[in-house]
């Protein structure tokens, strides 16, 4: 039992807990309004948004799973870097338009936008459901991140006692998210991101110094992984499509959309598109922890233990406590935002839409708070009761599924050429294609090898599914347009997509 690490860990954990509860008073607003609870009243400026999105997108699961991938599978594990490179031009171009139309019409979710743009509550429901089911396993996996660091500190145990620390952590998270809404993870993200930056900067100075420099680290990795250290030509299309597909999908996730819509202006989003790449550089070094672990002589069959083991081996106990706290808190921030985002979707686009159209803002906010709680409980149940592989497989599918909302949401921001039923059928086709590919792969990975005669093209299943999605959408749209089938009412006008915050 590593007492030093544990004590430091608990101190920082308590610090952010207090912060979480206090943040209800930050930039005051009526938290009985969904807009305030779920989007912090759209008040976050450039710096807060930078911390919020950074905390949102770079999760504990990222810090545990990506180095683990590099450690076990070599060069392909580096795909997170090109992935986070191409995201930001995409964000710069696309997200301000979503922000504007959401601001103009009071949209809180992507699904609200679907309803307004296409007049189709079925399409809105499809997008909402996809968002919710894609988010759930992601929350569960953040818990895996917390679990891994708790175990690394020696808090192992079986049965209920073994899960108790995790349950306590989550109960605390649930409490301050309930009271403070999005303001809680935003304020905690500031602490978390600072801690992560400090941890990684220290590690990339100290660990290579102890291991003889980066040249030595890469040499050790090459010896350990001779076939996968350099990307083989057979893996080129897999690498490129993994990066590309993941990049397109990331900002379709409800928690990324929530983070974006809480910004106070278009400029905040555009500036962040230029500033968030700082985290991508951080991610590159985090990924390389996988090779540092090889070089440091870490041997483990459970690759998710690689980062904690490296930290324990190369750093003093007190700093290990700090680093583990950073990772655990790094799980709480996205878990909170994801649960808020899923709650926003359910409340607006399922509860209010189908059950209680007359719901008052206070009722909306109340329902969202409860749903956010339920969602977290569900994730906890998943991790505590079911094998970890269930959550991992569902997360894999989640990535494939969420990308299928690209045609209606992203293309819909630029043109209304696609017919709502074309988009719906395209979405369905994409969902079926992607899910089938994952199942055929026995969930061993997200890359699916398609055979075109004698050529084999391995590519990210989500991208294949998206292609099918688009083809179906185009064909059905063309047919329905020719048959002059009703295309629903568009409540938006072109100018809505350029609306900015009042400059008073």
């Amino acid at each position: 039992m590593n007492w030093t690490a544990l004590i430091v860990f608990i101190v920082f954990f308590l610090l952010v807990t207090v912060l979480g509860f206090l943040s209800a008073r930050w930039r005051r607003g009526d938290l009985n309004h969904l807009n305030e609870w779920g989007l912090a009243g759209r008040k976050f400026g450039t710096v807060i948004t930078w911390f919020l999105l950074g905390g949102d997108l770079y999760t504990a699961y990222t810090f545990i799973a990506i180095p683990a991938l590099l450690y076990g599978s070599g060069a392909i594990g580096f795909f997170g870097v090109p992935y986070t490179i191409v995201i930001y031009p995409f964000v710069f171009l696309v997200m301000p338009r979503l922000w504007s139309v959401a601001k103009k019409h009071g949209y809180i979710t992507a699904s609200d936008f679907m309803k307004g743009r296409y007049g189709s509550s079925t399409l809105a429901l499809a997008v909402a459901l996809t968002g919710i089911i894609a988010t759930m396993p992601y929350i569960a996996l953040q818990l895996v991140g917390i679990q891994v660091v708790i175990q690394a500190m020696g808090l192992t145990g079986t049965g209920f006692m073994g899960d108790l620390p995790l349950i306590i952590a989550f109960a605390i998270l649930a409490a301050y998210t309930y009271t403070s809404g999005l303001r809680a993870p935003a304020s905690i993200a500031i602490v978390k991101d600072l801690m992560i930056y400090i941890t990684i900067i220290v590690m990339i100075i100290v660990v290579p110094a102890r291991l003889g420099g980066f040249g030595h680290i890469f040499a050790a990795a090459q010896t350990a992984l001779p076939n996968t250290f350099m990307l083989s030509p057979k893996a080129f299309s897999a690498y490129g499509t993994l990066a590309f597909g993941s990049a397109l999908a990331l900002f379709l996730y409800p928690h990324a959309i929530t983070g974006t819509l809480s910004a106070s202006s278009r400029g905040v989003i555009k500036r962040n598109a230029a500033l968030l790449p700082a985290y991508s550089l951080l991610l590159a070094f985090i990924t390389l922890l996988g090779y540092m672990a090889i070089s440091a002589g870490i041997h483990t069959k459970d690759t998710s233990a690689v980062v904690p083991l490296l930290i324990l081996k190369e750093l003093p106990s007190w700093f290990a406590g700090f680093a583990f706290a950073a990772i655990a808190i790094g799980a709480l921030v996205p878990a909170a935002i994801m649960s808020i985002a899923a709650a926003n979707l359910f409340t607006r686009n399922i509860y209010k839409e189908y059950f209680r159209p007359a719901a008052t803002p206070a009722e909306e906010s109340k329902v969202a708070k409860i749903v956010s709680l339920v969602v977290k409980l569900g994730a906890l149940f998943f991790i505590v009761v079911l094998p970890k592989s269930y959550a991992i497989n569902l997360q894999l599918l989640g990535g494939v599924w969420i990308l299928q909302t690209l045609p209606p949401v992203v293309i819909g921001l630029f043109t209304r050429w696609f017919h709502r039923y074309g988009l719906l059928l395209g979405w369905l086709a994409g969902m079926i294609t992607g899910t089938t590919m994952a199942v055929l792969n026995h969930f061993k990975g997200s890359v699916f090898a398609l055979h075109f005669g004698s050529t084999v093209v391995p590519a990210y299943a989500a991208v294949w599914a998206l292609i099918v999605n688009l083809v179906v959408a185009v064909i059905v749209t063309a047919v329905l347009r020719a048959a002059k089938v009703g295309a629903g009412e568009d409540k938006t006008v072109e100018a809505d997509y350029e609306v900015d915050a009042a400059t008073t």
Partner: protein
């Protein structure tokens, strides 16, 4: 009798100038494709050499592109900012 209103000519000129500026600024968005071209085709950079500070080419190339694309995004932001 033809009455040329100086204010209406001035206004139309201003509208046309804004449209010209807007068309020019839209061209900057094309720059945003560059990071995509630079990184989505690993065949261009999947090699171990030349190394930089101990990093094989494959690895440092992608890290450099993080910086390049951040700069490009910032440039486009400044260039397309409405005055």
């Amino acid at each position: 009798m033809l009455h040329i209103d100086s204010t209406s000519v001035g206004k139309r000129g201003a509208i046309m100038e804004k449209a010209r500026r807007s068309r020019r600024s839209k061209l900057w968005y094309i720059l945003l494709i560059v990071p995509f071209i630079g990184t989505m085709f690993p065949s261009l950079y999947a090699s171990a050499t030349p190394t930089l500070w101990g990093f094989p080419y494959f690895y440092w190339y992608q890290m450099v592109w993080v910086l390049i694309s951040a700069i490009i995004t910032y440039v486009v932001y400044r260039a397309t900012k409405e005055a």
